[in-house]
Every structure is written in structure tokens, then in C-alpha cells.
Symmetry: C2
Subunit: 331 residues, 2 copies
């Protein structure tokens, strides 16, 4: 293996989260599908914002959160994503760099604003996302730096990017470069509704180019159009080399070449805000795989990171994940 | 007393806080006086931001935080402050209105940006503020709506506004209108260094026009240029009708017409971030006074609100303060 300066490089939407609390009635009133991400237009996000309570702004974005997690475990990470030259773009760029992740993407001036997601957290800790895609999906294959992709052990792709054709082109370009350099390619399915929008293409991509698949139960049963997790797990085993399927309180199931490993969740006193649970599970799992840990250890690292992030508001870790894992005897 | 639709109206800097963690060495390296607020220029705030870790953005501003606290107690509040027509201005306006505070100030286009404060929290929970004053001090006497001032039982003024001459004019205008309508005028000294910059004018204003003085120990000893709190308390008693002096872990001392009441702090498991402690004490105290509670109860409401806000990151309450006070049997 030639020089690999990055453990993981991620490609995804560069997003700033606007996080507030609401009750279930609020979601119903605004037709927001609880627990999911939906794409909203400018008038919808304005109406939601006007009606919601006080909020906090914290950098987010699914793959970006994962890379911050990889860095917190002590891994070297990079992120490719597009921001505008505005306040939210400055916030996103500052926070990801301050977390130790290489972020060289240039801010774009004068087109769409930096993407943002209004995240509504209900009293049960569940999050419902309303994403206004600004400049972030404007990413195209010109954005994908071949040197950076070739220098990463794992290239990690965010399924949400499939929602725009140009971003999909960047996606395919990254897979091609990574494959050419003998690197692993990982994909997260991102969201059940996202899977529903792109099922055929996702299955094709998983069979042809994906080495590591990350998905939650909702996403994997949506992918294979079954209500049965076991059926979806069998199909996953047939289609992929390695997959980690998260199941909320039930923990996660790792599937690899006929082998199946069950990983328990890390206990949490109270789920404050589930935003980023999957992203941080992916951080621990990918960090583990990139640094040569066995699958059970990689899964445990995922559980530890997910538990940390759901114990507070916001999708980025507040504690050092390497220290946390060492205290638990996993690193 | 004629119609009073507001319990309290506040005039102050409209600020969005950018809150991150750092160690004491970071403060030393950047010449940031620990525990204080300093005014910084654009290059200084840019250098600090580039060097600091990941942050979160939460609406702030001293008097604005107080008004949000008054509203959380169930009081009717209004806030006068200036924001620019930019992302931070939208965040500030949304959050204060969503908290139930009347905010009618129009956003200004094309001059300075909305004010922001880089707040660095050290492991001991102490906060050090680096404020870039953008448009917020551009407030002048034209901003002060006489109808709104006359409609408030208490007009609350933020000492920080003294840092700009135009804002000072707005300040004096508000005092004049309030006095004319027979309303109470309250002042917070804001910060020891701020007191040092405006000592003479503050003393004059306190003797002539202020009915309720709020200050912490650092500020009141700075005002009277003494190292002795007892000496400062005696001087306060001579100069004011009513004062509440906060002393961190020692609680607060209420001084009124020769009478002195000691109020204990409300216990907190861990001080996460001391930002807003004084602002929220003021919220409880002023809400109590405006709604006719006795001085000891007003002080206890102050302690309860201060304890809530230092138990989490950010200077705005996360819990409903009226419920909290009811659970503690104080309301």
C-alpha cells in the first residue's frame, strides 16, 4: 500500500444545523416526518423557523460529523464538501478544521447560501430534520481531488448526495479513483426516504463498488423492500463484503463474508438528541477498520461514539472519543 | 399607574455568542483577561476564532438574556437593540421573539454586521468574552420608542452600552422618558473593566436616575475604587434606593433603604459555563420586583435563574424558569 496520509476521507453535504425543541404536534402541523430527513424549499424552512422556539447553531452534515468523530478517535481525516462565502460557510469551515479534519474546499461566492438543516428534537430525544440544500450539492466531479482520494485508506460517501445529479457524478468519480488506487469505498444509506428515492442505483452501487456499507434498520429494510430485518440482513450478506447495520437500542449487527457479529449499545442515562447517532457510529466503525482493529472492536468503537453524541444536543462529539474508548478498555 | 403591558423593557447590545472551550494558556497567549469582557477589533476576533476549537452559536447579549429570563418566568418583556440584516441578525431576532420577548427593532442593511462575542469557557466553567461590536452600539435616541418605554414597569439598561456615545444618548433618553412616566429605571454595571471606563458617569447616573442597581462584587468594588466589599456595600446604600449585589458562590446581597438581605445561591452540581449568571440573576430579581414580590423572594428567583443558566452551555435558560421556581416553592 502506497502512502496513506488519511485514514478516512468523506464526501458529503456541508451543513450547519439549527437545533431546537418541539412537541409531536408541531411536527404534525408542519407535515414533518418524525425521525426522518426531508428536503425543504426556502418558503418552507422560513415558515418552520418562524414557528419554532429558540435554537442553537452547530455545524453538522452527516459525513462531516463522521470525519470529526474519526479525528476525535485520533485518526487522520479529510472532508470534501461545498460551502458558500457567508457566515454559515465560515462557521462550517472553522468547526471542521478546528476539530482536526483537513478541509480544503474553497467557499463559493454569490450563488446559493451554505446549506442548513432545521432539526427539531421531540421530548423523546428523536430528531426530525428539514434540510434546505443550498450550495452543498453543487459539488461536482471537479471538486473531487484525486490526490486526496488516493491518499485515504477509506473513501466514505454520504447517500444524501444522491439527491442531486451533479453530486452523484462526484460520487462516481470518487469511487473510480479510489478503486484505481486499491482503496476501500464505504457508503452510508443516510435515510429511509433517501433510499426510497434512489433504491435501484444504490443496490447497483453496493454490488459493484462498495466495500463497506453502513445503514440503520429503517434504511436497510427500505433498500430491500422488506419489513423483516433478518431478510434484509441476508440480502445484505449476499450483496456486500462488509456491512454494519445499526438498530437503535438493539445495538448493531456486523455482517462480513458469512459471519455475523452482534454489538450491544453503550448505555446512555438519557437520550438528549439522537442527531448524529448513525454518523458517529460510522466514525468509530471506520476508524476501527482503517486502523486494523477486529470487527467486534470496530463495532464497539461505533457504539461508544454514538452513545456520546446522543447524550447532548448537537451531532458533533463534545468529549475526546479516544480517551473515552481508552477508559472503557476498548482502545 | 397607567397601562403597563410590559413588566420589563431592556435596552442593550444585540449579540450572538460564539462559544467554545479553551485552557488558561490560550487566554494568556491571546491577552484575554480571564472572567472579563473585552472589546476586540476585526483582526483580533479573526485571529482568536482561527485559533480556537469548535464552537456553537447561541443568541446572547446581557440585557437580551435578562429579558428572555423574565419571559421564562412568565413576565411580559420587550427588548430594544440593533441588528444588521444578516444571518446573525436573523438568528438573534428569531431567538428572542421565539422566547416570547417583544422585539420590534428593524434590521439595518449594509453597514456593520450584527455584533458577536467569542466566549471562551475554561475547564473551571469561567467565561472570558471577546466582543466585536458591530451594528449593536449604533443605537441612538431615535431607536428609543417612547410608547414602549412608558408601557414598562421597569426600564432595564445595560452598562455595556456606555462604550459608545450614541448609545449613551439612547440610554439617557430612555431614563428621561421612564422618569417622566413614573417608571422605575434599573441599571446593570455589566463588567469591572466597563465600570473602570465610565466610573464618573455611572456614579452620577446612579445618584440621579437609577432606582434599581444590579452589579457583581467585582463591578461594585471597581465603582467605588475599594478592595473591600463591605465598604462598597455601604457606599451603595448611600447612593441607591435598591441594589442587588451578586457575589458568585457567596450568593447575593440586597440593599434597600438601610435594610440588608443576604440571599444564598441555588446549588449546582457542576458549573458548565458561567456565561449569563448575572443576566439571569437580574431576570429573576426584576421579574420579582415588577410583579410585587418581596425582596427576599425576588432575590431567590434571581438565584434560581442564575443556577439554571450556569448548569449548561449558553446564556439563555433551557428550562422553564416559572416551573423551576414553582417546584422549589418560591413561586
Amino acid at each position: 500500500m502506497s502512502d496513506t496520509r488519511y485514514d478516512v476521507i468523506g464526501i458529503g453535504n456541508a451543513i450547519v444545523d439549527i437545533i431546537g425543541r418541539c412537541d409531536d404536534d408541531f411536527l404534525t402541523r408542519h407535515d414533518a416526518p418524525k425521525g426522518h430527513m426531508r428536503l425543504v424549499d426556502a418558503p418552507t424552512i422560513a415558515a418552520l423557523y418562524a414557528d419554532m422556539g429558540p435554537a442553537v447553531e452547530i455545524s453538522g452534515g452527516s459525513a462531516a460529523n463522521t470525519l470529526v468523530g474519526v479525528s476525535s478517535f485520533g485518526g487522520n481525516g479529510a472532508f470534501i464538501g461545498k460551502v458558500a462565502d457567508d457566515e454559515f460557510g465560515k462557521i462550517f469551515a472553522h468547526d471542521i478544521r478546528a476539530a482536526g479534519v483537513t478541509f480544503n474546499s474553497k467557499a463559493v461566492n454569490g450563488k446559493d447560501p451554505t446549506s442548513r438543516s432545521l432539526i427539531l428534537v421531540t421530548p423523546d430525544g428523536e430528531r426530525t430534520m428539514n434540510t434546505f440544500l443550498g450550495i452543498s450539492t453543487d459539488i461536482d466531479d471537479g471538486e473531487v481531488d484525486p490526490d486526496a482520494i488516493e491518499a485515504a485508506k477509506i473513501v466514505y460517501l454520504e447517500g444524501y448526495l444522491f439527491d442531486r445529479p451533479d453530486a452523484k457524478a462526484a460520487f462516481r468519480q470518487a469511487v473510480k479513483i479510489a478503486k484505481g488506487a486499491g482503496r476501500k469505498v464505504a457508503l452510508t444509506l443516510s435515510d429511509g426516504f433517501c433510499v426510497d428515492r434512489h433504491r435501484g442505483e444504490f443496490i447497483e452501487l453496493i454490488r459493484d463498488g462498495i466495500d463497506i456499507l453502513l445503514a440503520n434498520e429503517d434504511e436497510i429494510v427500505s433498500l430491500y423492500e422488506t419489513a423483516d430485518f433478518e431478510e434484509a440482513a441476508r440480502r445484505t450478506m449476499a450483496d456486500t463484503e462488509l456491512a454494519a447495520l445499526t438498530r437503535s437500542a438493539l445495538g448493531s449487527t456486523i455482517i462480513s463474508k458469512g459471519e455475523r457479529i452482534e454489538i450491544p449499545v453503550d448505555p446512555v442515562a438519557k437520550v438528549e438528541d439522537s442527531t448524529g447517532a448513525g454518523d458517529l457510529y460510522a466514525a468509530g466503525f471506520l476508524y476501527g477498520i482503517a486502523t486494523g482493529k477486529d470487527l467486534a472492536t470496530a463495532g464497539r468503537l461505533g457504539s461508544i461514539a454514538a452513545a456520546e453524541v446522543i447524550s447532548h444536543v448537537g451531532a458533533r462529539p463534545e468529549s475526546n472519543l479516544a480517551e473515552l474508548a481508552r477508559r472503557k478498555g476498548v482502545l
